[in-house]
């Protein structure tokens, strides 16, 4: 075993204790804007001189306080985010919630109403960023209006005008970080991968609490260390389905000797694409509308196309669809994904938040064994 490269360790430290990273930032006097979902235009937050941090749930966190308001019928990841907000951790100067999935929107309504009723006074000032995703020009036009509103809101809140140069700089910085996240795929999908799925998840997710420059610099260092990184062998899995805002499931799968060479959720591989490019609100509106497909917001057909493309570039032995309890959209995608994949596929339904479930490894092992017998894997 070789030692963990220093860059990966630094990324992991930021990722593992995201609240601590936020506290440090605030102690240094920088305003922190909490973001829910990958549809908050972080460029505008950065351009307003604040640090955008993406909030994550935590399966180990007690959700009772949040369940009281949200009920238990909602994705536990969103309930966990509310539980974190109610406990005052992390400290935020502003909260922006995007409509990236139904649970986020419900979270927004709940926080807004709790604040209106004065029930939970510790909740931060909160606004909705309603970016939508149907592939139509009419939707772009709507998103453009909402982004202009968000920009004005951030300007009023920060007291700083977001001029062309501020926006240009922020767009460039975030695009640079995105470019490196996309480049990271090469390390995961190599014949003998230098990054396990969990490493990649951590390396990408650390950006949730880092400035884009810090993130890009760490990813650069990680990729420069490529030649000295350990190589991993094992059956290759492509993990689809629910998004993973923590490493638990990846860890459980890879501890059993498998490698997650690809995924397609927006805490992982699907976060980065596409780049914004031009520093304009139009380009931002299009970038967020047409960002990489997710289970929550994309059509079954688009998800199936994405599956085929991801199989093509990552050569998995098996497609594993993980469906978290109360996050059911991925289960509807699965039949079409299975048809599109061209490799064997299994579905793991009713998963508890952050858990792989006892039956999962045998199901995966069985599927791989059957595939080998049928000569379906290489």
């Amino acid at each position: 075993m070789s030692t963990t490269p220093a860059a990966l360790k630094e990324l992991r430290d930021a990722y593992d204790d995201r609240p601590a990273a936020i506290r440090r930032r605030r102690a240094a006097g920088a305003p922190v804007v909490g973001c829910v979902g990958a549809d908050v235009p972080v460029e505008l937050v950065t351009a307003a001189g604040a640090l955008p941090v993406r909030l994550a749930g935590d399966p180990a966190r007690d959700r009772a306080a949040a369940d009281r308001y949200l009920g238990t019928g909602l994705d536990p990841a969103a309930r966990s985010i509310l539980a974190g907000l109610l406990s005052g951790e992390p400290e935020l100067d502003l909260l922006l919630i995007s409509n990236d999935c139904a649970a986020s929107l419900r979270l927004f309504y709940t926080v807004r109403e709790l604040r209106r009723l004065g029930v939970e006074p510790s909740l931060p000032r909160t606004h909705l960023v309603d970016v939508l995703h149907l592939p139509h020009r009419t939707t772009t036009r709507y998103n453009r209006v909402r982004l202009a509103e968000t920009k004005e809101l951030l300007e009023r809140w920060s007291g700083r005008r977001i001029g062309e140069s501020e926006l240009a700089k922020a767009v460039r910085q975030h695009d640079e970080a995105r470019r490196r996240i996309l480049a990271l795929r090469r390390l995961r999908t190599a014949d003998r991968p230098a990054l396990r799925g969990e490493d990649a998840l951590v390396a990408i997710g650390a950006g949730a609490v880092l400035t884009p420059e810090e993130h890009a610099a760490l990813l650069d260092r990680l990729m420069l260390a490529d030649a000295g990184l350990p190589r991993y062998d094992g059956p290759r899995l492509y993990l689809t389905g629910s998004a993973h805002d923590g490493p638990e499931v990846y860890r459980a799968i890879e501890a059993a000797g498998y490698l997650i060479v690809a995924d397609d959720h927006d805490w992982g591989d699907a976060l980065a694409g596409p780049l914004v490019g031009e520093p304009t609100l139009d380009a931002l509106a299009e970038r967020y509308q047409y960002r990489a497909p997710t289970a929550a917001r994309s059509s079954v057909r688009v998800r199936a196309d994405q599956t085929a493309a991801t199989v093509e570039r990552s050569h998995p032995d098996l497609l594993v669809c993980y469906v978290r309890d109360r996050d059911e959209a991925p289960a509807w995608d699965f039949p079409a994904q299975r048809r599109a994949a061209g490799v064997p596929a299994v579905i793991l339904e009713h998963r508890r938040y952050g858990e792989l479930g006892e039956d999962a490894l045998p199901i995966i092992a069985d599927a791989l064994r059957t595939a080998r017998q049928n000569g379906e894997t290489g």
Partner: protein
């Protein structure tokens, strides 16, 4: 046992019309007409104006649930690789596309050619995507936008000041969606959209809902309440499915006149009415006797119907531009019922209007704004009983336990409170 009511004439007529309509629809489809399957909160008005037959998805699910056949349809979905635990209500109809169950309700659902629904729910839009995969069926998705801030008193503002309530961005988007839908339907069905006909449809609906508003107000102020909630469901809902027709407008008026006649004659659901209750949440379609039980025990009558109340408050949109008015009906339709602050504040307003003493609040696991509804009512001094069951999935429902719990609540919290305030009416003897 509580006595059964004589059925309302408006209800008998509604049921007759519904049968006749479905038979006609089946015939039209067999003759090659297009058929749309549309969600309840989608702009059916466009189809009405263009003369394209449609079935409301949730109506079909309610028919299936009432016949207790939902489980069989869900099994079909499972057998075809789809989840049987997700979006059960809106996915019931989808099963028919794979295989019809033996001896289906109403001889089964004819195969649609167009499905229409919005993209609110992550899973519910996927159900429509699966429709879209089928030969000869197209899904037209409607974008579903949300607002950062809203005024609270939507029920006062919506009829005329909807532009302020919903906001220009959402309305512009919905108008664009509807214009697109019209072009899509013109192109795929060859049918014509006439503005004059559309105006007529929109006017009929406003008239129909104005009748519902009068009926709701009449029921709210009359003690004892003139009719049982469950007796009025067909009288309200069937015309709602057919809104935009002359029949539906007239049916709403006939229902109003029938209620007015009952009030004039002093007829009451429960002459010994002592407690007025409100039922929030989906109805227990399969257990109407539930409602009777508490009349006998406590003189407690459920006086409020979500179906009538949302018909009264949720649809009326005046304005010179019918397409924008239609957009205003649907751009925020489900916010009215499900999203705070609109939902909870509206339920409180309705509870006060109907002079209710207590609220039974059916909270599914999918609680939406459940906590806020209970909190808002309790804050206003109205006791709430939270009933935690799912009306589609009967397995989760234990009748005896629930009845006992509601019983205790009525005795401990509602009856005591109600007897403390001076009653404006002397209850008549049973």
């Amino acid at each position: 046992m509580a006595r059964r009511n004589k059925l309302l004439a408006s209800s008998i007529e509604a049921t007759r019309y519904q049968r006749e309509w479905f038979a006609g629809l089946r015939e039209a489809v067999a003759g090659g007409a297009p058929l749309a399957l549309v969600n309840a909160d989608a702009p059916q008005e466009i189809f009405r104006a263009m003369g394209i037959p449609y079935v409301v998805n949730q109506w079909w699910a309610s028919v299936v649930a009432a016949k207790r056949r939902t489980g069989e349809y869900l099994r079909t979905l499972r057998e075809n690789g789809y989840p049987d635990y997700s979006e059960q209500y809106s996915a019931t109809s989808l099963a028919s596309v794979f295989a019809e169950i033996p001896d289906p309700p109403w001889n089964g659902l004819p195969r649609p050619t167009i499905v229409l629904g919005d993209t609110t729910g992550d899973a519910s839009r996927k159900v429509f995507d699966i429709w879209d995969e089928q030969d000869g069926i197209a899904y037209y998705p409607l974008e579903s936008a949300a607002a950062d801030t809203v005024p609270v008193n939507w029920w006062e503002l919506m009829p005329d000041q909807w532009e302020t309530v919903i906001g220009t961005a959402r309305l512009d988007l919905m108008v664009a969606e509807l214009e697109g839908l019209v072009r899509f339907l013109e192109t795929t069905t060859g049918r014509v959209f006439r503005e004059s006909r559309f105006r007529e449809v929109m006017a009929l609906i406003n008239e129909q809902e104005e009748w519902n508003r009068r009926t709701r107000d009449l029921i709210a102020r009359t003690r004892p309440v003139p009719l049982r909630v469950d007796d009025s469901i067909s009288s309200v809902m069937v015309p709602q499915w057919h809104r935009g027709t002359v029949w539906a407008r007239d049916a709403a008026r006939r229902f109003h006149d029938e209620v007015a006649a009952r009030v004039a004659a002093g007829e009451a659901a429960c002459p010994g009415e002592r407690l007025r209750l409100m039922w929030i949440g989906r109805g227990l379609w399969y257990d109407m006797d539930f409602y009777r039980y508490f009349e006998e025990r406590h003189g407690a009558v459920f006086v409020w119907s979500m179906y009538l109340a949302i018909a009264a408050d949720g649809y009326i949109r005046h304005g010179d531009d019918p397409m924008r008015a239609l957009a205003a009906r649907f751009a925020a339709f489900s916010d009215q019922l499900y999203r705070p602050p609109w939902s909870n504040e509206w339920y409180l307003k309705e509870a006060r209007l109907h002079q209710v003493d207590g609220v039974v609040h059916l909270v599914g696991e999918d609680a939406r704004s459940g906590w806020f509804i209970t909190e808002t009512l309790e804050r206003a001094g109205i006791p709430v009983f939270e009933l935690r069951v799912d009306n589609v999935d009967q397995r989760a429902y234990d009748l005896t336990t629930v009845r006992a719990a509601v019983d205790d609540w009525l005795t401990d919290r509602v009856a005591g409170r109600a007897s403390k305030k001076p009653s404006p009416h002397t209850p008549s003897a049973p």
